[in-house]
């Protein structure tokens, strides 16, 4: 038997770093260490993201807790020589403030509380391709517990008691959703893990899958057990090559370990998972469009009802959950609903994973309790605004709302936000400084929606184009008097009648922007302009998507 290595070098190979050579760095590192005869002592492993997106190829040396950034193939020889042979960390390459885990000695109490991770706890710490490491870190413990000690109803009760709410955007209570599907009678039911993640700037689900794929599998199996499903699918967007690769390897490993397949862990429970690769359209993330796409059709949303819980994939009862939602479940089953509810805010306990980006010092991936505020995120995780000062943030991706400085101290959870008339959204926070004009920003959002509109329904197809024209006019200072009210009426109309939520989406950014920045938007109106009647030409050269 091989001796236990003295150190691990975890190279973060994720979708961002793989394109800048993370694999090559890792291979070179392994080769160099082998060359120096250190192969038995130092193990090089691939791991998921550490939560940084601006530090190039990153590697952490454990248990030392030192994180190197901006590594290249050329720097490896020196790194190995200095750090492993001579035992001297290379100071200039160490990333300041980048911690895969908080440093217990320097962190203050508040920060420590914030760092309690339950979804990303293994990300960056284990080799995602090693099921053994997962198991060593409590992987599949919850599944074993459920299968041996709990009835399916008890699992649902546990999830209900935890007050877990969907992390895919809508925030629907997960336990309740499961109970709908559980009560359907059918020859087969399905669990679908929604890993389509189409919101620009959101890549938390990807990093969860890449960092700890077994947690997702375990969450799906728990869901399957609870609702009586025997087949699961992970619908992953096509661009997520690495996620697909890691999930596939993890599923194979789980099958080999009897954690998927027939009679899991010797119980009477059969459950297997297959991967479906997404078609790429944003609207395919909507659960019924996703199901259509899985059935090989053009990914258009379905008419609801019936809901997927009644008639979903291939007309059978189907439960669709977001990756993060499912990855939260093992913790709940393992440690109990109480432990989960102890974290974060009361109405929506637990943690929330975000990708944070924009004009901040440290863009990246974070997991925070649902009790933290926007200010906490900005100050403790994002390293503050850089450059400039805070003007606004968009919470929850392109379809999310815009928050002004007065909202900095509202806790980021569905309940608290609802009190102020806001929603949480999918898990991206975009911080913007004063250089960003509200009209420009709205125009960019609409452009995305116009591009993603499937074109099926009248209000969305045509409404997006009209909005594109309106925002283009306003941003160019060529708006007609009345354009702001028109835009307001239009997005409200679209919200009430568009076929699917995509067409309903512009209401969130547009109305929230008008709420806080109405005067700035109004400044886009040219007071001298007279709206021609009829309006026979467009004021702007429309750059319509497609």
């Amino acid at each position: 038997m091989k001796a236990k290595p003295r150190a691990y070098v975890m190279v973060s190979v994720d979708a961002n770093t793989v394109v800048i050579g993370a694999r090559e760095v890792k291979n070179r590192l392994a080769a160099e260490i082998g060359l120096r005869g250190l192969g038995d002592e130092v193990r090089v492993v691939e791991t998921g993201s550490f939560g940084s997106v601006s530090a190039g190829v990153v590697a952490a040396v454990m248990p030392d807790g030192i994180v190197y950034g901006h590594l290249t193939v050329g720097s490896i020889a020196r790194l190995v020589e200095e750090h492993f042979v001579k035992g001297r960390p290379v100071r200039e390459w160490i990333l300041p403030g980048e911690h895969p885990l908080p440093d217990p000695e320097t962190a203050d109490a508040r920060q420590l509380q914030h760092f309690g991770r339950i979804v990303l706890d293994n990300c960056g710490r284990i080799d995602p391709d090693s099921i053994d490491e997962s198991i060593a870190n409590d992987g599949y413990f919850a599944l074993g517990k459920a299968l041996t000690e709990m009835t399916p109803a008890a699992v649902i009760d546990g999830v209900k008691a935890s007050c877990l709410r969907g992390r895919g955007g809508a925030g629907f209570p997960t336990g309740l959703k499961w109970s709908f599907c559980a009560k359907e009678v059918a020859d087969i039911k399905y669990v679908i893990c929604n890993a389509d993640e189409g919101e620009p700037g959101t890549f938390k689900d990807r990093l969860i899958m890449e960092g700890d794929p077994h947690k997702v599998i375990e969450g799906m199996a728990l869901c399957g057990y609870a609702i009586g499903a025997t087949q699961g699918y992970i619908y992953i967007r096509g661009e997520y090559r690495l996620s697909i690769e890691r999930m596939r390897a993890a599923i194979d490993a789980a099958r080999r370990h009897g954690l998927l397949g027939r009679k899991i862990l010797g119980s009477g429970f059969d459950f297997d998972i297959d991967i479906k690769i997404g078609a790429g359209a944003y609207v395919c993330g909507e659960e019924t469009a996703l199901i259509e796409s899985m059935e090989g059709k053009r990914g258009l949303p379905r008419v609801k009802p019936p809901f997927p819980a009644q008639k979903g994939f291939r007309g059978k009862p189907t439960n669709v959950n977001n990756v993060e939602t499912l990855a939260s479940v093992p913790f709940i089953i393992h440690h109990g609903a109480e432990a989960f509810r102890a974290i974060g805010a009361a109405g929506m306990p637990g943690t929330k994973v975000y990708t944070i980006l924009g004009h901040i010092a440290r863009p990246g991936l974070i997991e925070v309790p649902t009790s933290v505020t926007l200010r906490d995120v900005l100050e403790d995780y994002a390293g503050g605004m850089r450059p400039g000062a805070f003007k606004m943030a968009q919470l929850g991706g392109t379809a999310g709302e815009i928050l002004a400085p007065e909202m900095l101290d509202v806790p980021l959870n569905a309940d608290a936000l609802a009190k102020t008339g806001h929603t949480l959204g999918s898990g991206a926070i975009l911080f913007m400084n004063e250089s960003v004009g509200v009209c420009d920003f709205l125009h960019a959002c609409i452009k995305f929606f116009a591009h993603e509109s499937c074109g099926n329904c009248n209000p969305c197809r045509n409404g997006m184009a009209v909005l594109l024209e309106l925002t283009a006019r306003l941003k160019a200072g060529k708006g007609y008097p009345g354009d702001v009210e028109l835009m307001e009426e239009l997005v409200m109309g679209m919200k009430s009648i568009a076929f699917c939520p995509l067409g309903q989406s512009p209401a969130a950014p547009v109305l929230s922007a008008l709420r806080y920045f109405r005067s700035e938007v109004r400044a886009g109106i040219d007071p001298d302009a007279i709206r021609p009647n009829p309006e026979h030409t467009l004021r702007t050269l429309l750059q319509l998507a497609g």
């Binding site: 053009r298 074109g455 197809r461 045509n462 184009a465 009209v466 024209e469 009648i497 309006e535 429309l542």
Partner: protein, 914 residues
């Protein structure tokens, strides 16, 4: 009533039928909820979002078109808030629409225009800018028959759904996404796609986006409001009998003056087609107004046909006929009636030949298509027609189609078959040597070698018996001769059949099982079964199959021969056959003879069975038949071995041809009589499902042309018979009195809108949807026949190594005398071709489009090759329609001993590169 419910719309109680949506219930009650994407015939799309309503107890605005009406629902339709959102929504639709109503063919018949008017959304009342101007979406005017103006398309998806759900074609799809979404075919241009021009999409489009090209009338563009009159009539092409709404307008044209002209054709939403048509019915009726229509009678004088006045033509013809009759006896005169003429005309024509002339020799081209059906089914079941109705096919659980390329020959019946598969989970079994379009929908496609039908059918019967899948109770109580038949079937075990037919044994057994165990199974066949020297036996074998499984005498089952021509069923019913009087009453039966002798006041009716078409040609050749009167047929193309036909016609002393065009046959005539087309006369056709459908006089005939029945009546009068029919109703009344099956199908009931299926024995009888109900066969019991496989008369050999198959195709009809005189149809297919597969093409070193020489023992033609994998290696297919490369120069005259039908489906040919 239990199947209705009550709900409240805007405080008003309304009654809905269970299963209806809110929108349907509202519309039926006269509550006009705005809608654009809804159409009752296709599944809902719910994309226009205009039909939104509020429902008490449910949040938000809900589309009425997708929401089922429920008992006690309280619905708000027209609150100010909803109307405001609707108006905004409509405004949005208009912002992406080129509403140039002033030059739009949909003006005043456009759903979008109606709504814009209703919501007062003229240009100046709109809030949104005209986005469509910026988009430059690609329109497509390349289709042979349609135009697609993308700037007018509102993306309602109705056309896409009509094409796939109603027609089963799936040609159309949305292309591009978002604001650039347009309708397309997935091909660079519409004309490259598989669109066959049925026009269903244009008919369902709520706006002027997909419109039809203008083929009718003198104007190049027609709007709905230019229509002055709409007349319902029956399509003159195939045996489906589609009901068409033909629109007319008084127009001035040179040389004709001011007169009603056809300007548009749409499918009528009634039985049997429910709005659907094929390309011929919708776009192929302009032959009616072709300048080369026959307008005046002609007589051959000094070798040339010269125009004469009617009195001269009639007296000359009568004179020639009586002369020949006096000299050679009445049997020297023969008549060929027409499957394209009405029942009344066929009735009168056979009466003329039998009574006015006194000759037994009357036949028509059914001989060439379904004589074996008439003979075979009369023997086995007692009635030689489709046992069930067209619409029943949609609900059959298994459909077996053999020897019918239904998509091309009966396009609208094919839609029912496809819909059965697409919407009702039916299983389709296709048995055909060619990979026809329906194979795409088939659970099983069995490819038999040409001419081995009895073998596979017997094989299926044997597989059914062997596995105990037969319907024992049915066989015991409703059939006879089962035991003797079973003995013969024993030879046809699946392995032997595989050897004979090439159909893998396992597949045959699978088909047998599917068929026998189906809740309802229907057999559909056509000329692939009948046009063989053993055609009658083929038909008997088919009956065995239906009988052994008890798949007959119930709804959605039965033996369903698809009759080719519009009125071939009627022509047979009317006794245009040498062996029967109208109503299949045998000429050699004393009672029948007496009945007609009395009715026709003529004691000297012929008592013998007369000659068939094929025999008449032979007799003309050898001089026993001296005069031939042909009404509306063109044997110079349609009959086998044309060289022989031509020689036979040349031998005649007098050839009288009555037609609407100077056909290849008319060119040889001594007398040419100009007849009226379907659009210029009244009368009835009987479609393939035994349904009597009326024609309407839509326009006046050109020049001096007259209805066929008038011409026949004039000739009878000139021969001294006191005929005195004022109109076709007079004739139909005589038919009612003499033909028991038609007794109740009176002019009055037709006028009242009843579209009855025979048998309809009395004026109170509702007609018969399917025959042989509960095993009560017309002949008493269903008769099993111990038929044996007989090889085709001509087998491929070293000299003639290919098997030639002939048949029809979608865009042409019979001998092209009508279809080639249309503008639209030749745009699809202009000329003859021969289908051949790649392997054979390669072996012969010929390319697609290359002209080759095809010869049989009887003649040779030159024809271009069409490369296709539809046909198997070693076989070729030629559509028989085209004069310049007439397949029937090659075909075999070998005939079926009972039905005298020629073997048009199989002969041996050789193919040479030129």
């Amino acid at each position: 009533m239990s199947d209705t419910i009550t709900l409240w719309i805007d405080k008003q109680p309304i009654t809905a039928i269970k299963g209806e949506t809110i929108l349907e219930a509202a519309l039926r009650n006269g509550i006009e909820i705005p809608n654009l994407c809804y159409n009752k015939k296709v599944s809902h799309t719910a994309s226009c979002r205009l039909c939104i309503v509020n429902i008490a107890g449910r949040p938000g605005a809900i589309p009425a078109c997708t929401t089922p009406a429920e008992e006690g629902m309280t619905i708000t339709c027209f609150s100010p808030a909803l109307e405001k959102v609707r108006r905004t929504t409509l405004d949005l639709a208009l912002s992406n629409h080129n509403d140039d109503c002033i030059s739009c063919v949909k003006d005043a018949s456009c759903q979008l225009q109606d709504l814009a008017f209703r919501y007062n959304l003229g240009f100046k009342d709109r809030q949104f800018p005209p986005i469509w101007e910026e988009l430059n979406k690609t329109s497509d005017f390349s289709s042979q028959v349609l135009n697609y103006d993308a700037s007018k398309c509102i993306q309602c998806k109705r056309c896409i759904k009509a094409c796939s759900e109603l027609q089963g074609k799936g040609v159309l799809t949305f292309v591009n996404r978002g604001i650039r979404t347009t309708v397309g075919t997935g091909y660079a241009e519409w004309k490259d796609s598989k669109c066959d021009g049925c026009g269903e999409c244009a008919q369902i489009c709520p706006v002027g986006a997909i419109t039809v090209k203008q083929f009718y009338g003198p104007r190049t563009r027609i709007r709905q409001k230019d229509i002055e009159r709409v007349v319902r009539t029956t399509c003159p092409y195939c045996g489906v009998g589609c009901q068409l709404d033909v629109a007319t307008r008084r127009c001035f044209s040179e040389g004709v003056g001011s007169k009603d002209l056809m300007i548009q054709v749409t499918g009528a939403d009634v039985v049997p087609n429910y709005g659907r048509t094929c390309v011929k019915g919708r776009f192929g009726l302009d032959f009616v107004t072709r300048p080369d229509r026959l307008k005046r009678p002609m007589i051959r004088k000094e070798g040339k046909l010269v125009e004469v006045e009617w009195p001269e033509a009639i007296s000359y013809t009568a004179h020639r006929l009586s002369e020949i009759r006096a000299k050679h006896g009445p049997a020297a005169i023969a008549g060929l009636s027409s499957a394209r003429c009405t029942n009344e005309e066929n009735y009168l024509f056979q009466k003329f030949i039998r009574s006015s002339i006194g000759s037994p020799h009357i036949d028509h081209c059914a001989r060439l298509c379904h004589a074996s059906t008439v003979a075979g089914l009369a023997i086995t079941l007692g009635s030689g027609a489709m046992t069930n109705s067209i619409a029943e096919l949609e609900h059959a659980s298994v459909i077996l189609v053999t020897g019918s390329n239904t998509t091309e020959t009966h396009p609208v019946i094919a839609t029912y078959i496809k819909r059965a598969v697409l919407h009702h989970k039916a299983k389709l079994i296709v048995v055909d040597p060619r990979e026809i379009d329906l194979c795409r929908f088939a659970t099983l496609w069995l490819r038999q070698r040409n001419g081995t039908d009895i073998a596979w059918i017997n094989g299926m019967v044997q597989a059914i018996i062997e596995n105990g899948w037969e319907n024992k109770a049915f066989i015991a109580s409703h059939t006879e001769n089962f035991d003797a038949t079973r003995e013969v079937m024993k030879k046809y075990d699946a392995k032997t059949v595989e050897h004979l037919t090439g159909i893998p044994a396992a597949q045959l057994v699978k088909a047998a099982k599917l068929f026998a165990q189906a809740k309802t199974a229907s057999i559909v066949y056509s000329m692939g079964i009948t046009q063989h020297a053993h055609g009658t036996d083929n038909v008997k074998a088919i009956s065995n199959l239906a009988l052994v499984a008890g798949q007959i005498g119930r709804e959605s089952t039965g033996v369903n021969p698809l009759r080719g021509q519009n009125n071939v069923q009627g022509a047979c019913d009317m006794g245009a056959l040498p062996n029967v009087f109208p109503g299949y009453q045998k000429v050699d039966d004393a009672t029948a003879h007496d009945k007609f002798a009395t009715a026709w006041h003529n004691k000297h009716l012929p008592e013998k069975v007369g000659m068939t078409v094929t025999e008449i040609m032979g007799a003309a050749h050898d001089g026993t038949v001296k005069a031939l009167y042909i009404m509306g047929e063109n044997p110079m193309i349609s009959d086998p071995d044309i060289t022989h036909v031509k020689a036979s016609l040349a031998h005649l002393e007098c050839l009288i041809v009555q037609d609407i065009f100077l056909t290849e046959t008319a060119e040889l005539a001594d007398v040419v009589l100009p007849a009226s087309s379907f659009a210029e006369k009244t009368g009835t056709y009987t479609n393939t499902e035994r349904r009597i459908l009326p024609l309407a006089r839509i326009v006046d005939p050109p020049g001096d042309a007259r209805a066929d029945w008038e011409i026949v009546q004039s000739l009878a009068q000139a021969l001294g018979h006191a005929w005195n029919y004022d109109d076709t109703n007079d004739i139909l009344r005589e038919i009612n009195a003499l033909v028991p099956q038609y007794a109740g199908i009176t002019p009055e009931r037709l006028a009242a809108g009843e579209r009855l299926q025979w048998p309809c024995p009395s004026v109170t009888h509702p007609g018969t949807r399917f025959l042989h109900k509960d095993g009560a066969f017309s002949r008493g019991k269903g008769l099993f026949s111990a038929v044996d496989h007989i090889a085709a008369k001509e087998q491929p050999c070293a000299e003639y190594p290919f098997v030639l198959n002939t048949g029809r195709m979608l865009y042409h009809y019979h001998t092209c005398s009508m279809t080639r005189r249309t503008e639209a149809l030749p745009r699809y297919v202009k000329d003859a071709y021969m289908e051949m597969c790649k392997a054979d093409c390669d072996a012969l070193g010929v390319a697609h489009g290359e002209i080759v020489r095809v010869s049989s023992r009887r003649g040779a033609i030159n024809i271009p090759v069409k490369l296709t994998e539809i046909v198997a290696v070693g076989s070729v297919f030629i559509p028989f329609h085209f004069a310049e490369a007439a397949a029937n120069v090659l075909t075999n005259t070998a005939i079926d001993p009972t039905a005298k039908i020629p073997e048009l489906k199989v002969c041996a040919v050789k193919i040479e590169k030129l």
